[in-house]
Symmetry: C3
Amino acid sequence: MKTNPGRFFEDYKVGEVITHGVPRTVSGGERALYHALYPARHALYSSDQFAADCGLRAAPLDDLIVFHIVFGKTVPDISLNALANLGYAEARWLLPVYPGDTLRSVSEVVGLKQNSNGKSGIVWVRTTGLNQRDEPVLSYVRWVMVRKRDLGVAAPEVVKPELLGAVAAEDLVIPAGLDFGGYDFALAGEPHRLGDYGIGEQIDHVDGVTIEEAEHMMATRLWQNTARVHFDATAHPDGQRLIYGGHVISLARSLSFNGLANAQMIAGLNGGAHVNPCFAGDTVRAWSEVLDKAETSSPGVGAIRLRLVATKGDTFELREGDGRYLPDVLLDLDYWALMPL
Amino acid sequence: MKTNPGRFFEDYKVGEVITHGVPRTVSGGERALYHALYPARHALYSSDQFAADCGLRAAPLDDLIVFHIVFGKTVPDISLNALANLGYAEARWLLPVYPGDTLRSVSEVVGLKQNSNGKSGIVWVRTTGLNQRDEPVLSYVRWVMVRKRDLGVAAPEVVKPELLGAVAAEDLVIPAGLDFGGYDFALAGEPHRLGDYGIGEQIDHVDGVTIEEAEHMMATRLWQNTARVHFDATAHPDGQRLIYGGHVISLARSLSFNGLANAQMIAGLNGGAHVNPCFAGDTVRAWSEVLDKAETSSPGVGAIRLRLVATKGDTFELREGDGRYLPDVLLDLDYWALMPL
Amino acid sequence: MKTNPGRFFEDYKVGEVITHGVPRTVSGGERALYHALYPARHALYSSDQFAADCGLRAAPLDDLIVFHIVFGKTVPDISLNALANLGYAEARWLLPVYPGDTLRSVSEVVGLKQNSNGKSGIVWVRTTGLNQRDEPVLSYVRWVMVRKRDLGVAAPEVVKPELLGAVAAEDLVIPAGLDFGGYDFALAGEPHRLGDYGIGEQIDHVDGVTIEEAEHMMATRLWQNTARVHFDATAHPDGQRLIYGGHVISLARSLSFNGLANAQMIAGLNGGAHVNPCFAGDTVRAWSEVLDKAETSSPGVGAIRLRLVATKGDTFELREGDGRYLPDVLLDLDYWALMPL
């Protein structure tokens, strides 16, 4: 058979390094599409001039473009037969990506644990995105539940990676040259600096966006993510297409501009869960909670740790009394962003 | 509160200059999207070669891309609490914008007049778009009706700017070097020069385009226009999203290629009214009327003043007997374009 | 009348050369949109690095972008009054097209045959796409059935061009410098080389894509194709818009990555028929059949001749017992691609 059947649980070995196919050169086209598909407005990613004034050589591509491209390449090898996308951890952005850069992905299998039912198991991979100079630009761990094809294969030795609950602020990688000393708050769109936010503060990002099928499919294809459920209406009993979780992440992050316009660069992602499915017709809103704050060694650059919640409802409520997420909640994300002190 | 509540009528002072946030570097990506979202075909904006043969260094971005970007930046400061977008005047394009340029907007409050009901007022602003060299690329006046938050604040002194009914042909700014002396009508797509059009002549642009939600939202986001009514189906009783008026302008202008292929550059906008709302599912058609013609000081370059009407119907009728616009009419725009003599 | 009424059958003369309007400079924006509209993943068109490793100076634009742009320009002159798009033949890609290139089209009328009903006739044209250096980048013959406006005009002498059933492998133009000697199959996404495919082998490309109105209209506009039926819901009794046949070609070709990831460059198109109309809501699948294989004079470069079938169903069946295409079949295309030996 010439087509890719995907890998099954018994096909993974701890320590194996998988080279993912289809490297990608990015241009201003990817940025324009990103800004058409999401209400993205962070000035550092919108203006070469603003980025240069912050010490970068030009406006990088939005960090989540990099995440989606690096992630998308892993789908044919990691999650084609996945039953569930269980989590992310220890994501760090290591180098800005500029138009003209070429991205590729490699993943190392860092954990395996067969489920007690013998029919599936959990696979942990550490994925690294690399540019055309083989420099790592992004690294993260994700874990997925994958079906077994041959139930007769013995369970592998259990290897469960030890994962940090959160990237430590001092381990965040600040782009070389980044300097918020002369940061222009008026051009950035909001006056709030790190000192204006208090730990525990919640921000309602106010606006809602109703999603269309054409939009999430265009986005997901742009990242060369091939998971069938996003594109084929006949694959779902209701004729609906499941929206790629990353689409909801980008939508929520873009909506968070309103209140967090100066949370410019995403430097780390501590964890995230897609807690309910999202479909076309849903109107997505977002709110954030400040989890932590830190200084960095770069001039004027602080770090803010945020919970970002995407919801179809309009409250700050997250969970039922029994601890389960409310049905309106779509996403619960925990990340670090760089913000002027 | 960290989110932007927008300004209310009592927050504006005549003479105040507002720096709008989120500068934007444009690339070929914005052009490609514009040409995917609208049936745009004017050769000067499609081909570097054609533009160079007309004396420009490359194909500029479509003039309405510049308008939408400059306009979009003003929304959070000018029209977030607007009850109505009342008009435009005295718009002049001052310099072509090329891929790689960075645009930002500033607005000066040039007029204020509280309404007699005491609940709202009219704000006039002169908005200027600037490039990365701080050169103005576009200037226009618009006025909006804005709510008061605090009804107890006294009405400001009435200042009503004197606005020209139309930009005079001799005040149009012709791009340096523009030369239609060797204009290639075959490549431009139509043989008609300025002399072939008569004042009063009407042109039915024939084609219709049915609008989809995904299209107008992508366009409006691309201009970083954040007005909620365009994106949030729950904000409208019918679950429909109001289409950004600029979307209809671009659609009508693009349709006008068929009959006005040589009305290449938009140099001035004398006035415009969005006379009825437009929603997804509407099929938009357009017709034009020649209002005036003029020569310019540039070789082979004439100016044509056009009324451009977008409609959901299919007649040249504009108004009821009582002077009100017909319900099918969406847009009545008055602009100057540059055309080979 | 200023608008283009299109040409009618009696307006064509054998030997006439038609210069089509609206040249087009392409950028990374067109590529990004193509990869958002179709699940395109061939590595040579996705990565400058991969293309350089194959001897090209950068990743060219996808061959079908070139086809659609060159074709789109001919619509106002060739098929505005067409009753049917009857076929393609003898298409050869002659030179890669890179971001920054400018494309234009010319067509020569190479055949005419009035239908026996006297109301229409068949027009054959050879269309050539040229770049900014006037180098041909693509050449193909297509024929369409066009209405007569004036039934009284006498039938022209019948001229029926002799067309090849298929481009001979030795007549395919291999881009200068192309070298698959060091081809990286892991980065390309699949391990299969030309020798792994057998003549007669059928490949089910597995995935399906449900089409939205916004997507096919954006694509068709991007190619500046103006045929009304694709955009105007009021032009069709069901309120549906007929999807541009090229949209189905691109969708099927992109889906064929899964099983034919190494069929990198399209070098020739031997024939093709849009056998049933396609509408939004259809879920398109694809399968391929290997028709022929050949070596070329370039290092490591082979040629594979493929039948590519797009279908709304899920079988390899193509025709009814009486030879007619099955109603689920949308496209039957015959092309040559270049593949590592």
